[in-house]
């Protein structure tokens, strides 16, 4: 329980740091982003929208402390102002429309990539010196490839040449978004190629990490003893070696998650997937700072929640952490 509280407070601090960073950055940067934004709108903005921009990016003639407090109030009430690239839609609405796609696609792909990579790593590590070792240089190469490049190749091969999957979008045109079969099947059809790209690009990293831990774990006495006990090979591999070897992977989930999510977001852009990555791209292109900031906060919070879940899994997997 105490471990849990410690982790929770760590994530609270991290969330605070992210939100504060978001406040400091535009005020640190050269120039005046707030005035830029207001000038660029050329009088289109309502006084309320201008106020929101100033709260987020810098108010003239106001002390930093009171700016910080007002900023926090806006963050807590999800008041991020109006998006420029999707004018006049409020930022929070843009995010609400796209976040679902991203959570489903990237969430599923990250889990599948982790499970698949870990299982493969376990098998490769179990028997060294076999043909399976050849997987190591191959996966090293795969994990060095930029996700978006992989996405370009996937489109070229499977969408343009073979015409198996559509090359862009998240669902068929003219379908009603909702819990109806035509939409769901279309979303699965459109999502397959991006999903494959993310899974294949992320599997290598997990595989290599698990393989190395597996090799280290196989030298442990408890694995040797499990063999001496005459247990079945699968029991030794999963419950004795694998179960212990996976712990660093779960603990390292936090580190890798940021990388995987970053890669996956860029993949969305290539597929023009209606998720938060594509929106981020459009926001960056249009220097839509309100939207950028809100997306940064959203992704950070999502990653923090995922990390918290990984921590819970770790505590469930390793009894030693449960001690006070």
């Amino acid at each position: 329980m105490r471990v849990m509280l410690r982790r929770l407070s760590f994530y609270a601090v991290t969330a605070w740091a992210a939100i504060t960073l978001n406040f400091i950055l535009p005020r640190l940067m050269p120039g005046n982003p707030a005035q830029d934004l207001i000038n660029r709108s050329a009088g289109k903005l309502s006084p309320a929208a201008i106020k929101a921009i100033q709260v987020l990016f810098g108010q003239p003639h106001t002390s930093l402390i009171s700016q910080y407090l007002t900023y926090w109030r806006n963050v807590v009430t999800f008041n991020f102002g109006v998006s420029y690239s999707f004018y006049p839609t409020p930022v929070i609405q843009v995010i609400r429309q796209s976040i679902f796609w991203t959570v489903v696609l990237i969430g599923l792909c990250t889990i599948i990539g982790f499970v698949l990579g870990t299982l493969l790593g376990m098998f490769v590590g179990w028997r060294r010196g076999s043909w399976r070792d050849a997987l190591v240089p191959v996966t090293t190469f795969l994990s060095s490839l930029p996700y978006f490049w992989f996405a370009l190749i996937a489109i070229l091969v499977f969408a343009v040449s073979l015409r198996w999957f559509p090359s862009s979008g998240g669902y068929g045109i003219g379908l009603q978004i909702g819990l109806n079969w035509p939409f769901i099947s279309s979303a699965i059809y459109y999502g397959t190629l991006p999903a494959l790209t993310i899974v294949i690009a992320s599997v290598g990293g997990w595989l290599l990490g698990m393989r190395n831990m597996m090799i280290t774990t196989l030298n442990e006495d408890y694995v040797l003893l499990a063999e001496a006990k005459g247990l079945s090979r699968l029991r030794v591999m999963f419950t004795y070696a694998g179960r212990n070897a996976v712990l660093p992977s779960v603990a390292g989930f936090a580190m890798s998650l940021g990388f995987v999510v970053g890669g996956a977001i860029v993949t969305e852009i290539v597929f023009n997937y209606p998720g938060i990555g594509t929106v981020l791209f459009q926001a960056a292109e249009g220097q839509d700072y309100p939207l950028l900031e809100a997306i940064f906060l959203t992704i950070t919070m999502a990653v923090l929640i995922a990390n918290l879940l990984a921590d819970l899994a770790y505590i469930a997997l390793d009894p030693r952490t449960r001690e006070s």
């Binding site: 070229l156 997306i295 992704i299």
Partner: protein
């Protein structure tokens, strides 16, 4: 003050030979060489390429979207620009950003990691927290935001952004390393001599972190190149400055993948991945040097099935010499006290000319050399020797637990079951071996902490054995058996739900014994089961073992370097030296009249609790280097009574006083060399 990473491995002695000490070998490994070549080629391309190719990478021509041809080796872009020229100029920007950001990131990580690890208290905690927060923040969105605020700022801006977002991982790794180095003796010594903290960090700690710093640096270069590509691909860097990422940006913006212009975007991606792979390969090589375990063993264990099979057939053809004593123990069950077999029982295990070699280095190391032993039913056979004498290797050979590069080269291991059935242990198939294990022979390891699976409860680990070998047992029965077993070794049965770390050291070791007895095996191999315990707990464990042996009637092979313990506990004792048995005698004989000069030395190095007072003499010198054994007797260089002939003649195990079963491998007792009769008459070093 450089600590070579192999000091411990060397100290562990020839029981674990293999890991090469030379860094050179690590660098010359094929993987590392490949990596160096790849990185070298791209570095050359980045440095010299633009000098050789004077074309303007941005020059627009009318030759649009041309596939590769002699004129344009890699084709052209939609603007008619030459892809190869762009690739060459792109290499310069990408590598420049990669290495510059890599250096800055590493320096920053080093600063935070080294000071955070060396200092203690609040400032250290704060630095660690700082790094952890940055570690969890998703890098890419942060990069995107920062880059968006610095539009088109060129390489310098990108390098700063990558450094600010990418240092945390390295800082964490280096902090952990510094923390562990800080407590090492040589750092303590430097502190004691009054060196300042900065000096200690720079001169004592830093040089020992070179390998890890290199790994961190190479890792950050890879991630910097990838991040640069992502930023450029998103159009957040200066899109007119050619890098591999910018090329991909233009390709994607112009829909190259839809126009099937693969030559445009395939090469830059491959270049990024190749550089990444090359750097990763170099890292693997360094990892292998730091952590020799990761190095692949290269050879899969391959038993000589045919030969072993022939042995087992020969064994079956011959009728068993002596039938096992069948008495009330036939009905042995849990908790039922059977009559102790005593030393008079039949043979349960016979080893003949067993030889085990480690085949990893240049020459095979013979860890067990020509060992023949007989274990009788109900007997405790002790095997004593210094570390590296091959006693643990022998234990693993008997249980067939040797892993490559160790392998049984020759010899026979015959197990005789209670019903007289004889089994050639070396010839068992994997399936038969699984059934044989624990059912007939179980093993107790030295460190119960390491031998128990840390993530499973005690009960589950015992239950595992029952589930594997007694598929007919119901869950309730198994749980009852687990409780019985724990009770038997004096652990409260409600501790079945406890995890290993929740038990005390003595309890863990007794739990190991309970586990070893789960299937009522005939033989329990105990490999230094008490060495890691303090004397009081040691006593308790020994009493548990002898008590259980007397009630259950199993045989024990007890391995230790503690000869005085063996003399109290065992029926027969074998003394091992450099892989050979040098003396085999009953405990009483060995105590009263040790024959071999080595045994005499060993007995002189332990005080006994009950025996008469005597001077402790010990054995002079150090255990032998198993890779370079002397031609004659291995003990000769340390032997206080060595003869001239000892240097060249390897002694055979002989029985010098024939009615007496004691045997010894020493020329002092060989009639051919007996010009030193005192060896027979005096009882050795203990007057």
């Amino acid at each position: 003050m450089l600590i070579t990473p192999d000091v411990e491995a060397m100290a562990a002695g020839p029981e674990e030979p293999g890991p090469g000490r030379s860094w050179l070998r690590g660098i010359l490994a094929p993987k590392v060489l490949t990596g160096l070549v790849i990185v070298g080629v791209f570095t050359a391309m980045a440095v010299f390429g633009p000098m050789l190719d004077h074309a303007d990478p941005g020059a627009i021509t009318s030759a649009r979207l041309q596939p590769p041809s002699l004129h344009h080796l890699l084709g052209t872009t939609q603007q008619g620009q030459d892809v190869l020229t762009q690739l060459i100029y792109g290499a310069r920007v990408s590598m420049e950003v990669g290495f510059a950001a890599g250096i800055l990131t590493t320096l920053w990580s080093l600063l935070v990691g080294l000071t955070g690890g060396y200092l203690s208290g609040a400032s250290s905690e704060l630095l660690s927290m700082f790094a952890n927060v940055f570690l969890v923040l998703p890098g890419l969105p942060l990069v995107v935001i920062m880059a968006a605020y610095l539009p088109h700022s060129g390489s310098a801006g990108i390098i700063i952004v990558i450094t600010v977002t990418g240092w945390a991982w390295g800082a964490r790794v280096l902090r952990a390393q510094t923390l562990s180095l800080r407590r090492r003796d040589f750092v303590e010594a430097a502190r004691a001599t009054g060196q300042g903290p900065v000096k200690i960090m720079l001169y004592d700690i830093l040089p020992n972190e070179v390998a890890i710093i290199t790994v961190t640096f190479l890792g950050s270069v890879v991630s910097a190149i990838l991040t640069e590509a992502s930023i450029a691909f998103l159009g957040l860097s200066d899109v007119t400055q050619w890098s591999w990422g910018t090329m991909l940006y233009w390709a994607q913006v112009s829909g190259a993948e839809l126009a099937r212009a693969w030559w445009w975007f395939v090469p830059p991606g491959l270049c990024i991945a190749l550089v990444g792979t090359g750097l990763a390969f170099i890292n693997f090589g360094i990892d292998d040097v730091i952590n020799p375990r990761l190095r692949s063993a290269g050879s899969t264990p391959r038993r000589r099935r045919s030969r072993a099979l022939a042995g087992s057939l020969a064994r079956l053809a011959r009728p068993p010499v002596r039938r096992a004593a069948k008495g009330p123990e036939a009905a042995r069950g849990p908790g039922i006290a059977g009559g102790p077999g005593g030393t008079a029982g039949g043979t349960v295990l016979e080893l003949k000319n067993l030889r085990v070699e480690y085949r990893g280095g240049a020459a095979p190391v013979r860890a067990v050399n020509d060992v023949s032993l007989t274990l009788r039913r109900g007997e405790i056979l002790g095997i004593a020797g210094e570390s590296g004498s091959g006693k643990s290797t022998l234990a693993r050979a008997v249980t067939r637990l040797l892993r490559p590069p160790a392998q049984i080269v020759s010899g026979e291991m015959t197990y005789t079951a209670r019903d007289g059935r004889q089994i050639d242990i070396a010839g068992l198939s994997d399936r038969e071996l699984r059934q044989f294990r624990w059912e007939e022979v179980s093993i107790v390891f030295q460190s119960a902490m390491n031998a128990l699976n840390p993530v499973l409860t005690l009960g589950t680990q015992i239950d595992d054995v029952l589930r594997a070998h007694r598929p007919g047992m119901r869950k309730v029965q198994r749980a009852a058996r687990v409780r019985d077993l724990l009770h038997m070794v004096g652990i409260s049965p409600d501790r079945a739900g406890a995890y290993p770390h929740e038990l005390s050291g003595g309890m863990r070791q007794r739990a190991m014994i309970a586990m070893g007895l789960a299937l009522d095996p005939e033989i329990v191999v105990m490999d230094e089961p008490t060495t890691a315990l303090d004397v009081v707990i040691q006593r308790q464990v020994i009493e548990t073992i002898s008590g259980l042996k007397d009630t259950l009637g199993f045989s024990v092979i007890f391995i230790t370097h503690d000869l005085s313990l063996l003399i109290e506990l065992c029926d027969t004792i074998a003394i091992m030296y450099a892989g050979r048995i040098v003396e085999l005698a009953t405990a009483g004989q060995l105590y009263q009249r040790p024959l071999h000069p080595y045994s005499q030395g060993l007995l002189g190095s332990f005080p006994t609790l009950t025996g008469p007072r005597r001077t402790l003499s010990g054995v002079p010198g150090y255990p032998p280097d198993m890779r370079r054994l002397p031609a004659g007797c291995s003990f000769q260089p340390r032997c206080p009574r060595a003869l001239a002939a000892c240097a060249g003649t390897p002694p055979q195990l002989i029985r010098p006083q024939i009615p007496d079963p004691a045997s010894v491998a020493c020329l002092l007792y060989d009639t051919d060399y007996q010009d030193h009769p005192e060896g027979l008459t005096t009882g050795g070093g203990r007057a």
